[in-house]
Amino acid sequence: MLGWTLREVSAALKQGQITPTELCQKCLSLIKKTKFLNAYITVSEEVALKQAEESEKRYKKGHSLGDLDGIPIAVKDNFSTSGIETTCASNMLKGYVPPYNATVVQKLLDQGALLMGKTNLDEFAMGSGSTDGIFGPVKNPWSFSEQYRKKRKQKSHGEKEDSDWLITGGSSGGSAAAVSAFTCFAALGSDTGGSTRNPAAHCGVVGLKPSYGLVSRHGLIPLVNSMDVPGILTRCVDDAAIVLGILAGHDPKDSTTVQDPVKPFVLPSLTDVSKLCVGIPKEYLAPELSSEVRSLWSKAANLFESEGAKVIEVSLPHTSFSIVCYHVLCTSEVASNMARFDGLEYGHRCDIDLSTEAMYAATRREGFNDVKL
């Protein structure tokens, strides 16, 4: 049942095959069993069980809130959650308990979703491995698959099993691992330069980066304001579409969200691709691309073509400049967004009180890791 899609579980809940509390407890116990993955920083057991209780009441009355009512979800620890510690995997915010919910979190809660916990990440979402947070790295669940274990046993000898694991990619590695390990049905990540898509690929799950402006960033602790978006991680595309439908839309608290109302949508079932035209940017065929990835890519393109779709070459001529632009924007905005972490209003504050400047310097040295210094 933990492997079912959102629609399937939702139907089961409606039909009473399982109660939200039972579902919640199954997930909680699996979280405990998979603790070695280090996917969760905070497990909000009490909160989740209480939410499950409420959801159960609603199902009994036949008043479920929607497709997500009673469904366990997880949230990356750079989203503000009211009353639940939000650390961004940094010493700077260790112990910080926000007084408000991020808009996307609120939307999920308003749909009756159960918040299992806050997931691990690279510190402040800066990274692509989920290895750089203060709570340690997240381990890819696939490291513990039979397939991988067999392969490793053949190759290595005497290596400690403990150190033999794969990364999840990042920075939303915790969310990807949580979904991949079946501890929840959907998870929120964030994506600035691939931080949802990258770990999704590593962990074998679906990672969706919505277009900038479609989903509110209010409450998402920012890295690069002009590029960040909340990301969605699920085990199938249909589930991602359901979650997007709930999260998308204008938020008056975020002036960069689109003004036009977002129409509800349902993914068409694509049985006939003959009218589909798929473009492959030629600039993406970089020399550094690994042969394994290249062959998988070809395989996918061939699949579409064999089913009748048109697959053509297109050009995105500024591709080579993208990484340079990204770095300029990223470094400027990150420096700017980190300026508020001075220990004065919230979060970590050092013991030095000689002068304001000395306090700022020590607080930031203690609070940030090397990437930020």
Binding site: P98, S255, T256, E345
Partner: protein, 516 residues
């Protein structure tokens, strides 16, 4: 925090400084503009100086000072510029702080419509060009009362540019010598205000209140000096001046300081200075890094601010969502320059009087109410309001609204003078009494103090004759041609009438009696 502020930048007005003391200059024989007649030498007090030098200086060339003002004006609105928090005067510390104001991570700015309207109104009132598209930027620096580590401002493309303000300045020593001037307004921008810092030296700590910064109006002055014809000098910035009087003193001091420094072979540093009110001098502020690098960057959380006029308004636009410049222009109250012009046209008032009437809150209204109820000449009313009435107010530090004398009372008093029921000097006595004891009408006071003008011509004739007889010496002086003797006689007669006779009437009678 995130309280709204309008910033005006007024670029430099130049004042020419002339030299006083001709000796050294004469020796070197260097001409200045003031001696265009070709005359050199002793007389070197320039006619063109507007601010005379306070002491003679060495050096031999004219100096010009350039002053630019940065004016921070807090916008009167119910909530702050980017956060929904309210704005209340004198609220308890940190009681009006939203999550955004405290810079809690994940919070975003949302622009306040009323503040934008206020900025547009200010831009229109100052004759600026309103930019239909303006942008927001981040200005970074670390300070305890700036929780985010940056201030949101409009550096690249502000909401209004290229305006001007006309004003009047007294020149020369004589009253009534005023010239009209204009100052350019380079730009008007919206920006966040900081919080308030309170330094507790006793406990070596600083307390921060994030409600709002102190001071509804704060001015920073940028000052430099140079020789006319040469490039502009290095400028210093004098910060946080809160009153017009101190602003003037600080600028004067700084100009002098820079001139002295340069004439003594020193150099001016591009630094920030503060003004010490007690010592009356500017001092460098602690600024070890030299020039601040604010690392300006576009504010990514705020899209460009778009304004419309009636021509460019998109069809079917929701009036709640868009701002129409033309609509705001229509709603502007009458601007002071227009009001002043009307006063000059309607009452034949001197321009500087129109300035004076508008410079005091409620004074214009008071004047107009008096005018409604009196037949006295506008010039007389103006004089009474600006001299006597305003004088009494200032002496006791009262606002017009706190005046014990109502417009009706003053109007009545002026009517009495106009009817020649009392003399104008008697009127002044009545006014004093009106001020002191509320509730009495002018007529009552006149009766009480017996200040009615003497109407009895017969009695006046007799008094004049008697006075002349009693003071033959004065009469002799008068006949000899001493012009002041007549005044003495008039004074004596007035005294005898206990101030109740009109001096003009006394003069007539005396002259008639003397000639006859």
């Amino acid at each position: 925090m995130a309280a709204p502020v309008l910033r005006w930048l007024c670029p430099g007005r130049r004042w020419a400084f002339a030299r006083t003391g001709g000796c050294s200059y004469h020796r070197r024989g260097v001409p200045t503009a003031s001696t265009s007649s070709g005359k050199r030498g002793q007389s070197s007090v320039a006619q063109q100086s507007l601010i005379t030098a306070q002491e003679p200086r060495k050096g031999d060339r004219e100096w010009a000072a350039v002053v630019g003002l940065e004016i921070h004006a807090q916008i009167s609105s119910n909530s702050k510029l980017f956060s929904g928090s309210q704005v209340h005067f004198a609220a308890p510390p940190n009681s009006l702080v939203s999550f955004f104001d405290a810079s809690l991570p994940g919070t975003l700015p949302v622009l306040n419509r009323r503040c934008v309207e206020a900025a547009v109104m200010t831009g229109l009132a100052l004759d600026c060009r309103i930019n239909k598209k303006s942008l927001f930027d981040r200005k970074h620096y670390f300070y305890a009362d700036l929780p985010a580590g940056y201030q949101i401002t409009q550096q690249r493309l502000p909401i209004a540019v290229d305006g001007s303000l006309a004003y009047s300045v007294c020149v020369g020593k004589k009253r009534g010598q005023a010239v009209a001037r204009t100052v350019r307004v380079r730009q008007i921008q919206l920006e966040q205000d900081s919080g308030k810092s309170l330094h507790d030296d006793l406990r070596s700590q600083t307390l921060v209140d994030l409600n709002r910064a102190e001071g509804q109006l704060r001015v920073d002055a940028n000052i430099s000096v140079h020789h006319p014809g040469e490039p502009l000098g290095v400028r210093t910035e004098v910060k946080n001046l809160n009153s017009a009087r101190f602003l003037a003193r600080a600028i004067d001091y700084e100009i002098q300081r820079q001139i002295s420094e340069l004439e003594n072979g020193g150099e001016i540093l591009n630094e920030t200075r503060s003004f010490d009110y007690k010592l009356g001098c500017t001092m460098p502020m602690r600024d070890k890094e030299g020039k601040q690098d604010y690392r300006f960057m576009p504010e990514p959380n705020l899209p460009p601010l778009l304004l419309y006029d009636s021509a460019s308004l998109p069809a079917g636009a929701d009036p709640q969502q868009v701002i129409n410049i033309d609509q705001i222009r229509e709603q502007l109250p009458e601007l002071p320059s227009v009001t002043r012009e009307k006063l000059v046209q309607r009452y034949g008032m001197l321009p500087e009087h129109s300035f004076a009437l508008l410079n005091e809150v409620g004074l214009l209204e008071f004047f107009q109410n008096v005018m409604k109820e009196t037949r006295a000449e506008p010039k007389k009313v103006t004089s009474w309001v600006l001299n006597t009435f305003l004088g009494f107010l200032k002496q006791q530090n009262l606002a017009v609204s706190e005046s014990p004398v109502t417009p009706s009372a003053l109007a009545e008093l002026l009517n009495l003078v106009e009817r020649k029921a009392i003399s104008s000097s008697a009127a002044k006595q009545v006014f004093e009494e009106l001020w002191r004891s509320e509730g009495k009408t002018p007529a009552q006071i006149v009766a009480e103090k017996q200040l009615e003008l003497m109407r009895d011509d017969e009695a006046l004739e007799q008094l004049c004759r008697a006075t002349m007889e009693a003071h033959p010496q004065v009469v002799m002086d008068l006949k000899k041609g001493n012009p002041r003797a007549i005044n003495k006689l008039i004074g004596l007669v007035r005294k005898a009438t206990l101030g109740r006779a009109d001096p003009t009437a006394i003069k007539d009678v005396l002259e008639r009696q003397l000639s006859g």
